[in-house]
Symmetry: C2
Subunit: 221 residues, 2 copies
């Protein structure tokens, strides 16, 4: 007879969660070191202190493990933008709220762990477009959809003038992150920016964006 | 006694040029197929129909060959921007000239051969930052420096208002190319855009850029 007492059940769940976390962390390092094709499940198992069977049980094929890593790394970005939509929807000071969003966004994107996964996804997307597509849908597309929704609301409230909210969302995010992200992509993971530099990229991006998309002020209409 | 007649000299140069071109084309394919680390000089030699010695004679180490490929692919972009500066310096219609530049720029950047090399450079820049740096200096930085010079001239002529020309150049280029370039980087080399879509990215980027950077019109001053 099984005896699934609550404390054992809880401990079992914790162990499973911890095992998943250990496998994801180990696999991330192995993927980054050896690339997607070069990464061996044996090596991931050894680094995670788990058996290959445990990895298969939790994640199935290597492809699924890779996608879990990608989604794991993008989790935080999604949350920032859920909060940002709420703030943008009620703000009366679009430029100030966009500046706060832009500063938080560029700081999040520029985390070394995020940028290393971004590089890995781009490296493999030529051979394995479905891996890149999973990243693109969970990251940039979700962020752009959320921002587009916020911009459309601001346009309805007469605070922005936006014909194509998804295009405007793309202009906003790439204005904010392209300079530092591309510098790291090309010049390597040791490229560093100060917080003041990142804030300046965010602030100047908001300045350009609002110049193009702010609604004409009523006083001059 | 050597007899370096002009016709022999000419033929000799042509053969050398053709050999270099054959090696660069073959090496590009092998690098794209196997990655920088996986690419073997034997394989490049076989694909080029040349000996390993010939490759060493023309390019030295694999690293130098890779840099030559990168510089080779970026050559056209540089030329477009040399011409663009000349046009921008004398134009009286900034928006029209910027639109022509933006349309030509995005079409050039979106060539499949360019994007495949871009992906390869990003893939390897984590492990070999000097490779990425060579690309960054010969590509984005040179383009931004040239554009910044043109924007500074337009500001002097009272047609733009630009405090930081290099920042403005970065805003311009990433506004123009980020949407289609990032889509291909993540979603794979089979991602296609129509000419009308690329033109629309260019035109809308110029609209955003000029809203932020055009000088206040004299009539309203």
């Amino acid at each position: 007879m099984r005896k699934p007492g609550p404390s054992i059940q809880d401990t079992g769940e914790d162990v499973a969660t911890q095992t998943r976390r250990r496998i994801i962390d180990a696999a991330t390092e192995v993927f980054l070191q050896d690339g997607y094709v070069g990464a061996k499940t044996d090596e991931i198992a050894a680094a995670a202190g788990a058996s290959k069977q445990t990895i298969y049980k939790h994640f199935g094929r290597k492809e699924n493990l890779f996608e879990q890593i990608v989604l794991d790394r993008l989790g935080g970005i999604d949350e920032i933008f859920r909060a940002a939509i709420g703030e943008l929807a009620v703000t009366d000071d679009v430029e100030a709220t966009l500046t706060a969003v832009a500063r938080k966004f560029v700081s999040t994107i520029m985390r070394p762990s995020h940028l290393r996964v971004r590089r890995l996804v781009i490296a493999e997307a030529g051979r394995f477009p479905h891996l890149g597509l999973a990243y693109f849908e969970a990251g940039p597309e979700r962020v752009h959809a959320a921002l587009a929704s916020a911009f459309a609301q601001l346009a309805e409230r007469g605070l922005l003038r936006v014909d194509d909210p998804v295009l405007a969302a793309n202009h906003f995010t790439w204005l904010v992150v392209s300079i530092p992200v591309n510098k790291v992509m090309f010049c390597g993971d040791d490229t560093r920016f100060t917080q003041a530099e990142l804030d300046h990229f965010a602030d100047s991006a908001v300045h350009v964006f609002t110049a193009a998309y702010r609604a004409p002020s009523r006083s001059s209409a």
